[in-house]
């Protein structure tokens, strides 16, 4: 049902504008219907404007009813989607939404954002409190939990081009969005946890290459301290509510050749002398020796980027896209940062994925068709191009799951401006997804972070902290 006849007039200026009727433009029925569907005008206003345009009252009511059914019935009529994101690049998201709405006239989208640190808890409240969005960011952190709670649905049924995309995704990204052979998302971005260092400052200390393992890192850090180049050379985000902490800890374990869980999702991190124990002991020793900034326990990712950029610290472990910010943003040490393979015997690290998910609420509201179009635009291809993923990579340096993007000369040039495509590919080859992802992993993660930070400050021994984490795992499993 599409009408092009100019139907009603709408004031576009402020209501109390002295300009009177100068800000008035013509509206088509399409626009009026969209406005009603988007909730921008109410039922009474809709009927009033339709009547003003000469549409009979019964016809206006019927139109409104059709609009309402279209909104809720998924019959191809106007649909309004709620999109929940964490607060990163919100202006870019809004611009992407605008582009999406221009291409999909029948769908309008409202975006709502909340801090990354509170995202899990906010979403739990929204889903359980009946205010679930239609589409939302999610993460491999929470996939099992959200599926077990029935908050998100598998996309196999609703996403038309899923099979074609799957073959082009990085394995760790596909694995991070897959549960019981069902895919639950289209990638927002996929990236690696990497080791970053300030090349200028380590050269100043007499080192011509980054540390190859964690012990060498301790030696280099001590030298930097002794020479007064940095008071605390190492900075790693370990604020209790920062979800990065666990991914960084996993990376430190993987790079030593260790594991957190076995194939049956049983903890191995608590075995005596495990790589996890070595990693936690290393963190504790670094804290005591002042190689590690004592403020790490109140530092989240953005804090670390700020202090690294200011030259306060020399080494860190962060998600790769931060390297783009450090070398391209407004920082005193801009341009001095390099990526190195994760120190350790295997150089392995965590590869992770954040993705767009469709909620069960979208299915209940019959918004699946519009939600699918939305997911396709944001996580899939438009006119044969990964438009949104490419934009994130070029503008923010976000990593991507869509491997063909590595062949794009524009992307290669962009990455090489702040990083290294070759090194990134090398690191990606030895990257692995997080182990132990189960419905209770999200809950365990919060407890594990608490224990890790307790061990770092010395409230419990590393061994005891790991044992506590294993005990918690078993109780959650039961």
């Amino acid at each position: 049902m599409r009408f092009r006849r100019p139907l009603v007039v709408q004031a576009t200026g402020p209501r109390d504008s002295a300009e009177g009727n100068e800000g008035i433009r013509m509206l088509t029925i399409d626009e009026l219907v969209n406005s009603a569907a988007a909730g921008r005008i109410g039922r009474r206003e809709f009927v009033k404007r339709a009547l003003l345009a000469g549409v009979s009252a019964p016809a206006a009511l019927a139109l409104l009813e059709a609009c309402s059914q279209g909104n809720q019935g998924g019959t191809g009529g106007p649909v309004h989607l709620n999109f929940m994101v964490w607060s990163y690049g919100v202006e870019t998201i809004q611009d992407n939404i605008k582009n999406f709405e221009q291409k999909n006239k029948g769908t309008t989208v409202t975006v709502q954002d909340t801090s990354w640190f509170q995202y899990h808890d906010t979403m739990a409240t929204k889903f359980s409190g009946g205010a679930a969005p239609d589409v939302a960011y999610s993460s491999d952190h929470w996939l099992r939990e959200w599926v077990a709670a029935g908050w998100i649905v598998p996309l196999d049924k609703y996403a038309s081009d899923l099979a074609a995309y799957k073959n082009e995704w990085a394995p760790y990204a596909l694995q991070g969005m897959t549960l019981d052979n069902h895919v639950y998302g289209l990638p927002y971005y996929a990236d690696l946890v990497i080791f970053i260092y300030n090349e200028k400052l380590i050269k100043q200390a007499g080192f011509d290459k980054p540390p190859a393992n964690w012990e060498e890192l301790s030696t280099q850090a001590k030298a930097l301290r002794d020479k007064g180049i940095s008071q605390y050379p190492i900075d790693i985000p370990m604020k209790k509510d920062d979800p990065w902490t666990i991914e960084i800890f996993y990376s430190m374990v993987y790079s030593r050749g260790g594991h957190m869980f076995d194939q049956s999702n049983s903890p191995v991190f608590n075995k005596p002398g495990s790589e996890a124990e070595q990693a936690l002991q290393w963190l504790r020793d670094s804290y005591v020796s002042k190689n590690l900034d004592p403020a790490v326990l109140e530092s989240a990712e953005p804090d670390v980027v700020k202090t690294m950029g200011a030259g306060q610290h020399v080494y860190t472990v962060l998600a790769k896209y931060n390297l783009a910010e450090l070398n391209g943003g407004q920082h005193e040490q801009k341009g001095n940062f390099r990526m190195a393979l994760m120190p350790g015997s295997t150089n392995s690290t965590v590869g992770f994925v954040r993705f767009y998910a469709m909620s069960k609420a979208a299915v209940d509201r019959n918004h699946t068709q519009a939600a699918d179009q939305f997911l396709q635009y944001f996580g899939g291809k438009t006119s044969g191009q990964y438009v949104v993923a490419k934009r994130w990579a070029l503008e923010k340096g976000l990593g991507f799951a869509q491997l063909p993007l590595y062949d794009d000369p524009e992307i290669q040039k962009s990455i090489n401006a702040w990083g290294s495509v070759e090194l990134e590919k090398k690191q990606a080859k030895v990257a692995a997804p997080k182990e132990g992802l189960t419905p209770w992993w999200g809950t365990w993660d919060v407890y594990a972070r608490e224990q890790i930070t307790s061990a770092v400050v010395g409230s419990v021994s590393p061994k005891q902290a790991l044992q506590n984490m294993a005990t918690k795992w078993q109780s959650l499993k039961q």
């Binding site: 899990h120 739990a124 709670a149 029935g150 004592p294 403020a295 809950t443 608490e450 307790s454 400050v457």
Partner: protein, 307 residues
């Protein structure tokens, strides 16, 4: 005549108001609101606390009786939260009360310009808790906090102090922020109490040779018994249930150093997604508050009897 007419009209109105349907009709909206926003959530929470309600296991909510209560009481994390809350409350309530009283005594002096100061002293209390938390976080941050910058410049410290990273310092940092945020209300309440003390009583005690401490002990404080009770009850409730400040300032960390009871109850519900245990923790907190309020009332009544 006019008065008589008015009385008659009032009498008529009362007569109409005393009828059952009228009374019910006027009370219904309030009863509905109370029922909807107080009674229903209370009953719902009570029911939830006796069921196993895990958001990750929807549709499986068996009745477990008091198991949630027993489980949370036996949990080491609860014990840490109780201990932290006891320390926090034990330090903040006296600090807030004494600071509020001192500020009130100061503002009660007939000094020019104190009128403006009385308004200004309310500012910390008027700032939303979340904003206060952010301000304190920026002040105290171990890497770029303004306090560290200041202390370093004046030579009071040789390197930045990790106020929020050290398990011991973090608790004191939260306490200082809380006291700063809370003292204005007691100050204003005490000031109001001070201003109704009859001037001749104070003058008489001075003439009788009472020194400042004696005047405070035997004249001022007995008059402030009412405000003191309100301050103690209110500040105890606030300290035991403080959440926003911890949420913004430390997130309960480092480790479990600032994990207070209300924070832990929140975490149980929305981080660990265990609504049954979260509800049980909330009821335990409510019962504790009730017990403390009753105890305060008794103590004050005993004090009144002694006077």
């Amino acid at each position: 005549m006019i008065i008589h007419s008015g009385v008659r009209r009032f009498g008529t109105a009362r007569g109409a108001g005393s009828s059952g349907p009228y009374r019910l009709a006027t009370l219904a909206p309030v009863l509905l609101l109370v029922g909807l926003f107080t009674v229903f959530p209370f009953v719902y929470a009570a029911v939830t606390s006796t069921h196993k309600v895990l958001l990750t296991l929807p549709g499986q909510t068996p009745f477990v009786g008091l198991k949630n209560y027993l489980d949370v009481l036996a949990d080491g994390s609860t014990q840490i939260a109780v201990r932290n809350t006891a320390v926090f409350t034990g330090l903040t309530v006296p600090c807030v009360t004494v600071l509020g009283l001192l500020v009130a005594l100061l503002l009660n002096q007939p000094i020019r310009g104190f009128g403006v100061l009385r308004a200004l002293v309310l500012l910390p209390w008027a700032i939303p808790l979340v904003s206060a938390g952010i301000i304190w976080r920026l002040l105290l941050h171990g890497d770029f906090g303004a306090l560290n910058g200041l202390l370093l410049q004046v030579g009071a410290v040789h390197s930045y102090v990790p106020w929020l990273s050290s398990p011991h310092l973090a608790m004191y940092a939260v306490i200082v922020a809380h006291v700063w945020r809370e003292f204005p209300l007691p100050a204003i309440l005490f000031l109001a109490g001070l201003q109704v003390i009859p001037g001749d009583v104070a003058d008489a005690s001075t003439v009788d040779g009472a020194r400042a401490w004696a005047r405070l002990r035997y004249v001022t404080l007995p008059y402030l018994r009412g405000p003191l009770l309100i301050v103690l009850v209110y500040e105890t409730m606030i300290s035991i249930s403080v959440f926003d400040l911890v949420y913004v300032l430390t997130g309960g960390g480092p480790g479990t150093a600032t994990s207070l009871f209300s924070w832990y109850a929140y975490a149980a519900s929305f981080t660990f997604l265990n609504l049954g245990q979260g509800a049980a923790l909330s009821f335990i907190m409510a019962a504790t508050l009730l017990g403390l309020i009753v105890a305060y009332l008794r103590i004050v009544r005993v004090g009144e009897d002694e006077v």
